[in-house]
Symmetry: C2
Subunit: 240 residues, 2 copies
């Protein structure tokens, strides 16, 4: 895929910030300096800087400059908040990761499922239950409903690897938008049976809907995390 100009510039500036080339609390070069460096237009630079601001790397101040507010994360754990798959996350954190599929069967959205997931009543689905292991400990329980028509050819073997890779490489599906809700809940019998709770009797729960690039919801997943390995990061910006 050929990348857009603004995306390339965004990545370059982001990597410089992460490398510390631009100091925390310092200012980036001005927009005009970037225009001179990259040979692009005002709007293109602004789009790249807008992405960085939206992700909490920088903060623009009218009349002064664009301040760097990024610092490396201190607490270990999963970096969420953007769209990042389990495998990507594990790789970033250099952990030994495995997935075990504990259930895999078809289902039809009845009233209960429809209310919980947002799929329409009667929709044909596939139910997948996965356990995520880090360095041998079962830390995450994923319970997913997929839109059956969208994941034709999905097997337990594929689910053990990465369903996202299957989406993108085999089915050519581009994931675009996802919505998540984070809550904290008491661990259930099922959680206790499938996870290494290590004394914990509560979990951090992420319930998410995934939309294909044509806007159709194709997945609703509930991820139940042992709390000591879970952190969800989020950045918000108020319209000035």
């Amino acid at each position: 895929m050929v990348r857009a100009v603004y995306d390339g510039i965004y990545r370059i500036i982001r990597s410089r910030i992460e490398a510390g080339d631009y100091a925390y609390q310092g200012f980036l070069p001005s927009e005009n300096e970037f225009i001179a460096e990259f040979g692009c237009s005002h709007n293109t630079i602004r789009k790249a800087l807008g992405l960085l601001a939206g992700e909490g790397y920088v903060h623009p101040i009218q009349g002064k400059g664009v301040r760097v507010i990024y610092r490396p994360l201190e607490r270990a754990g999963f970096v969420l908040g953007g769209i990042e798959s389990f495998k990507e996350t594990a790789a970033r954190n250099r952990l030994n990761v495995a997935t075990r599929v504990s259930a895999f069967h078809d289902a039809v959205a009845d009233a209960r499922i429809s209310k919980a997931t947002g799929f329409a009543r009667g929709e044909e689905l596939v139910y997948v239950e996965r356990i995520r292991l880090l360095d041998g400990a079962a830390l995450i329980l994923d319970r997913s409903y997929f839109l059956k028509s969208a994941v034709d050819g999905l097997t337990p073997e594929i689910a053990e690897k990465s369903i996202y890779e299957f989406f993108e490489n085999e089915l050519g599906i581009a994931i675009a938008t996802s919505k998540r809700a984070i809550t904290a809940e008491r661990a259930t019998e099922l959680d206790a049976r499938l996870l290494d709770l290590d004394g914990y009797d509560f979990l951090a729960v992420v319930t998410g809907q995934v939309f294909r690039s044509d806007g159709i919801m194709i997945e609703c997943t509930q991820s139940r995390h042992r709390p000591d390995h879970f952190t969800f990061y989020s950045t918000a910006t108020r319209g000035v």
Copy 2:
């Protein structure tokens, strides 16, 4: 403050979506139709639509249109994920809300505080501990450090009302960016003493940093929520 054109258009379209004028899974009018309606340029409409997409209201599909993916929330609780104050949230949910200040004193950032909050060592701070009551039940414990130089004139009486209103109206401070991390944690002795835990022994914890519009961090707050009243919403978009 005079609002920007794109912001007004964004609000109009958003309110139509929330009112159901544009159906879930249906398409918005095309960009050209909006241009005709609002009498503005292509880019201005795109900026408004970009805001809606970023907040999970719509999902644009190249060559087809902009699909509505918003639906009213089902689960009661706090709407977070954007920047919304406790009072705004309570008003939206029509709850009877009160705040009690349980501690209020100056502090200096030592090694421990500096590591936990991100304030520099030696920085002069104000520590504020607040309990949020909904319909008489103590559900949330807020423990905040403020940059002393930025909140001059802050009193316990003001903290009982809204510190954000104090920021914006008295001090003329505009809050711009905030970063948050969500975790689930075991309730402490302090939590049990100050909150109505109602049998729960764990909490949803939001640790957040607030940046003033000049990019300086002025607040670091940890909000500890009883889990049955807490939900954090988030929308993510993967760069196509």
